[in-house]
Every structure is written in structure tokens, then in C-alpha cells.
């Protein structure tokens, strides 16, 4: 069977995901003009950005079709990001000054 005959197009699915990502991005712009505190704004925008990223990862980057790779990428990335948190506590200390140095 030729490659072209075997191929199944996913254009419809891609268009739905594309429109969802655009809608979520538009929502972020609306939030930017809403009368809420900076921390509320930050939380809402970050939450929407994570949803956008998840949609792109699952459907644009095809992780939804390969569960093994999906778990590998998610666990590995989360581990790397959490490992980085080890250093951030030092950043907090730098902001307030080292307590034992006072």
C-alpha cells in the first residue's frame, strides 16, 4: 500500500485545537485588563498558559498518540523543574539577606 493511501489526515482535529489555543490566548488578554490583584492575574494567566501548553504538547506534538513518551516527557520535565527549586530557596534568602549574617 502506498504511503499516501495509508496516511490519515488530522487537519480537522488540528483546527479545533488551534482555535482553542487562540481562544485561551484571547482570554489571557482579557484577564490583563480586568480589575484584579497582580497575584490573581498571575495565577489565572499561568493556569491558562499551562492549558495552552498541554494542548500543544498533546495534539500538535502528538504526545496524545504515544502514552509511554508522554509519561517520560512529563515525569522527566517535572523532575528537572522540581530539581531547580532546590536553588530557588537560596534566591529567597538573597532577597531578605542571610539570617545568620545579620
Amino acid at each position: 500500500m502506498a504511503v499516501a493511501e495509508q496516511h490519515k489526515s488530522g487537519v480537522g482535529k488540528y483546527m479545533v485545537v488551534y482555535l482553542c489555543i487562540l481562544a485561551i490566548a484571547a482570554l489571557q488578554f482579557v484577564i490583563a485588563y480586568s480589575a484584579i490583584t497582580a497575584s490573581q492575574m498571575f495565577t489565572r494567566m499561568l493556569f491558562l498558559a499551562v492549558i495552552e501548553a498541554a494542548l500543544a504538547l498533546l495534539y500538535f506534538m502528538h504526545l496524545a498518540d504515544n502514552h509511554g513518551l508522554l509519561w517520560f516527557v512529563v515525569i522527566f520535565t517535572v523532575f528537572v523543574l522540581l530539581a531547580m527549586q532546590y536553588g530557588w530557596t537560596d534566591s529567597f534568602r538573597a532577597l531578605g539577606g542571610a539570617p545568620w549574617a545579620k
Binding site: M45, L69, F92
Partner: protein, 205 residues
Amino acid sequence: MSQADMTMTGHSGLMEKPAFSVPAKKMAMWLFIIADTATFAGCLVAYGFIRNATPDWPRPFHSITNVAIMTFILVTSSITMLFAIDAARAGDKVKALRWTLITAGAGALFALLHIREWLALIDEGMTLFKNPWGTGLFGSAFFSITGLHLLHVTCGVIALVAVGLRYKGGRYNADDLEITGLYWHFVDLVWMFVVPLVYLLNLAH
């Protein structure tokens, strides 16, 4: 495995299956993406700490028009990349190249808009170390993060043109185009975090 079997099947029977049934080149791209995620996360979290700890943090952006257009172009370029991969999987080389070049064109347009925005900010007196609105750290953070992203976009545009042309010429296959596409989607994905954190949270009200 006997010598006869080796002759019949080649060495493929002795080879291990690739991890997660993903070809080695694609796996290498995923590992690069994970590493690059750490790079951008490091930059953005460090930026968050600095911003949070600085009382006179400037909010210089008066309009979202430019960043909205840039976001639209980059997200749209992701779908044109998918069209290119779809055409390549269907064996249509001309269509695949056309969509790849459209994607690269969108990336180039994004880069031009970005540079125009940089020039406008520089015109208003913003440099890496000072600006007229508040702490000089803003310029360093803004140019570092958006500059790193712009560098990724520029590399992506070059890669798309090079891989697209070589795919058309028969030196690369649809898998290679898909791997380049993974990189391009990643560049788009990073922008989804840069926009709210660097632009929208610094909007002048």
C-alpha cells in the same frame, strides 16, 4: 541467531527496539526540548523573583496590539507546520515544502515585528541597564528572555528552510520534517508563557 538467519534478516534482529517506539533522532529532539524547557523555566522563574522583589518595577506596555498580532502569527505558524507534516506524510512533497516555507515566512514576520518592538523601546530610552520608567533590571530581564526566544525563532526559521528544501530534494524524509516541526511547536509553546509573564503582567493600566 544462526549465520543463516543473519543473512536472511540482516542485523535488525539483534538491534534493541527504540525507546517508546520513537526513532533516535526524534528522541534526541525531545531530550533537547526538555533541556531547553529547563533553560526557559530558569530564566522565567528568575525573572519572577526579581520582579517580585523590586518595588519600582516598570509597566511600560501601553498597547497589546503588537504582542497580540505576534501571538496570532506564531500560533498560526504552528498549524501551518502541521499542514506541512500532514502533506509530507501523504507523500505530497510540493505541498509539504509550500507549507514549510509559509511557516518559515510567519516565523520571519514574527521576528521582524519583535525587532520593531525592540527598536521602539530602545527609542524610548530603554537599554539593558537603564530605562526611564523604573528599575534598570527590567531591560536586562526583558531583552534576555525575549532575546533568547527570538534566537530560537531565528534558528527555527533557518532550520525550516534548510530541512524543507532538503526534504523536497530527497535528502531528508517526512520524519525529519516532523522533528523540525517539534522544535517549532516548542518555540510556540514557550511564547505562551512569555506573553503573560513578560508582557501582560507589565501592562500599563
